[in-house]
Amino acid sequence: MNYNKLHVKFGDWLVLLAGAFFTLWLASLVWHGSAADKAIIRSGGKIFRELPLSRDLELEVPGPLGMSKISIHNHQARITSDPSPRQYCVRQGWLKQAGEVAICLPNQVSLELSGSKKRYDSLSY
């Protein structure tokens, strides 16, 4: 197939290229991980506890469905158990880098890792 048959005009290529750069830029902005040192645990949208990752511990967080268990071990954090039906947040496993989040939706519990410096985030300003 040649260009004429595909009917892609010059500007279309530019837009395609711009879109690709935009996507890559977005990925580098958002997925650029850095070391985490703090776990922020939310329940029902409010911050329930902020914990340093340097100390190992187990924690129970109450939500509308029951208790979600969170453990911190070896500078990593995970949701160990949760009453939500689909268990997405549990299956996410250990969170290591700043910015990683596990959200247990029906139980409204979330676990977020954050680094020492707050990175620019396109959605919160």
């Binding site: 005009k9 879109g19 990925a27 958002v30 989040v101």
Partner: protein, 178 residues
Amino acid sequence: MTASVIKLATTDSDHHIARMAAFALGLSVLEAAFPSPLPGVKPGLANIVTLIVLARYGWRAAAWVSLLRVLAGGLLMGNFLSPGFFLGLSGAIFSLAILVLSQHLPQRWFGPVTQSILAAFAHITGQLLLVYFWLIPHAGLAYLLPIFAAAALIFGTVNGLIAARFLQAPQISGVAAT
């Protein structure tokens, strides 16, 4: 007791819009059958119809077709007035807005592929804004942005290519237009 009959006067263009919307609806039902890795990531095949209608009959007809498709799709798939319906609606409104603006681009340089890519990005923008401000007001949503952007880029390009092909072949789209 006399039976009362309500008859709405319809024009040919009403029929045409309804036919195109039905065609778009068929495509969205078709793609609903395919599983998606992430909610909201869909090919958006119905936008091909919107693009063709836009090029042939202007943005008013395209807006009718697109919004009728969202409405009828919601009724048909049983998610009318559910969050999914409003996500589709906000996406459709955002992409229509950018399509209206994109008509002012010089046609010599920019074709349906450009319009389709812009519309796809506008669609996810509309959806994600609604998700963020209504459903999940959490900054963690940002981590999905590159996935949505990549999907918009790929599907937008493919849909645009298909629309461009149809617009070039009057005998094919003529069938849908009669």
